[in-house]
Symmetry: C2
Subunit: 205 residues, 2 copies
DNA sequence: TGTACATCAGTGAACGCGCGTTCACTGATGTAC
DNA sequence: TGTACATCAGTGAACGCGCGTTCACTGATGTAC
């Protein structure tokens, strides 16, 4: 793929991909700029042609992650249309699917400690991804009788929290905990019960 | 408190408390054995009189955390008795309360990457804490018509996941995200909707 | 009460290591004429 | 097509740093007699 020789050809992206693997395998703690450089076949100093340093490299990984995540959420949302309910459920599932499919990005985004406020770009990408879930929640809220309607931001937050919790506690090998159920089932049923609680699903489906 | 002089008097616990502060302030990444020693007013080498090394020190912090957590869960459970519902809700709330009140312990337990399998002691303490939530879930399950009763482990997992998600995403300053609502409210309403979905709370309470 | 001595919790110096970062440099590429 | 030269992406050596860990040691404590 990349031309090899004195000039790498596509070092920036090669570094991102090396970082992705390292972050996935060793966690954000274990990730080092030097090792990422080594894995890309290059001197640590070369990294500074493309990034401001270690943090900046992680931030780029996270940025790409948020963009992929946003695309995935968008796609899931579209998949469920025109049903507000189906769209909402699909976006919930997309969270877990993303964590599974892009573990390196996921860790860079949610476990590396980098702030989404770091750059406007990063903030935008993160906001956009979240906006999809909120849009889905708003559409769903329209189906709830006006008087008893909670703010849509609130239940998008609930679903986001449950998704995140399921991923952290049961889908990643975190504290050696054995998951009592497949995470996908757990999230599916959790969202199901929740939506029933909102009166959006028949009690006896 | 502690006698000062050549002999510290209570160095082991002093190290645990220094670690607690460091972990709280700098995260598990920023925590170093040397700095913990320094903060306890002692040479790094002195740490090895009481711990096998850096990891072992973190593990002790986590162990104490799990014990406090277990006690808190127990207490919350008792508080809600004899109502199964009240007990269950109280244990859910206890998770967030613990994270707020013991942030250093919380981080050591859930974000430091140490495994609960590390020692039998640690495993026992972690298991015991979780067992309280499961007991509460079992008692609650008895109130659900037998046919439509999901396994109690499943909804204790749901509540655990939502609690954990709320803490990680909204109660800790993690990715610079502004919480749209107070975490306590978010968790309270989230659990409320969920329990309604289980048919355990009247739809119009 | 006083002395001898074992125990043990600390010191402090040293280590090797890998880290992130800097710097002057050099080799490859691409463009102007 | 060929040469001169600017640009730029890499090298490699060096740095200072703080880390976790080890070791022989020493000072304080507490117990036996």
């Amino acid at each position: 793929m990349a031309k090899r020789g004195y000039h790498h050809g596509n070092l920036k992206q090669a570094l991102v991909e090396a970082s992705l693997e390292l972050i996935r395998d060793k966690g954000p703690t274990g990730f080092t700029l030097s090792e990422a450089a080594k894995q890309a076949g290059v001197t640590p100093a070369a990294v500074y042609r493309h990034f401001d340093g270690r943090e900046d490299l992680i931030a780029e990984v996270a940025l790409q992650g948020y963009r992929i995540f946003g695309d995935l959420m968008d796609y899931a949302f579209q998949t469920g249309q025109p049903s507000a309910l189906a769209s909402f459920e699909a976006t919930g599932r997309a969270y877990l699917a993303f964590a599974r499919k892009y573990p390196g990005h996921y860790v860079a985004m949610f476990e590396s400690g980098i702030s989404t406020q770091r750059t406007p770009e990063l903030h935008d990408a993160a906001t956009r991804a979240m906006a999809v879930l909120e849009t889905a929640a708003e559409a769903l809220a329209a189906h709830i009788p006006e008087g008893k309607r909670p703010p849509p931001q609130m239940f998008s937050a609930h679903i986001w929290a449950m998704s995140h919790g399921v991923v952290e506690l049961f889908a990643r090998g975190s504290p050696g905990t054995k998951s009592p159920f497949p995470p996908e089932d757990l999230l599916e049923t959790g969202i199901g019960v929740y939506l029933r609680g909102l009166g959006l699903v028949a009690p006896d489906s």
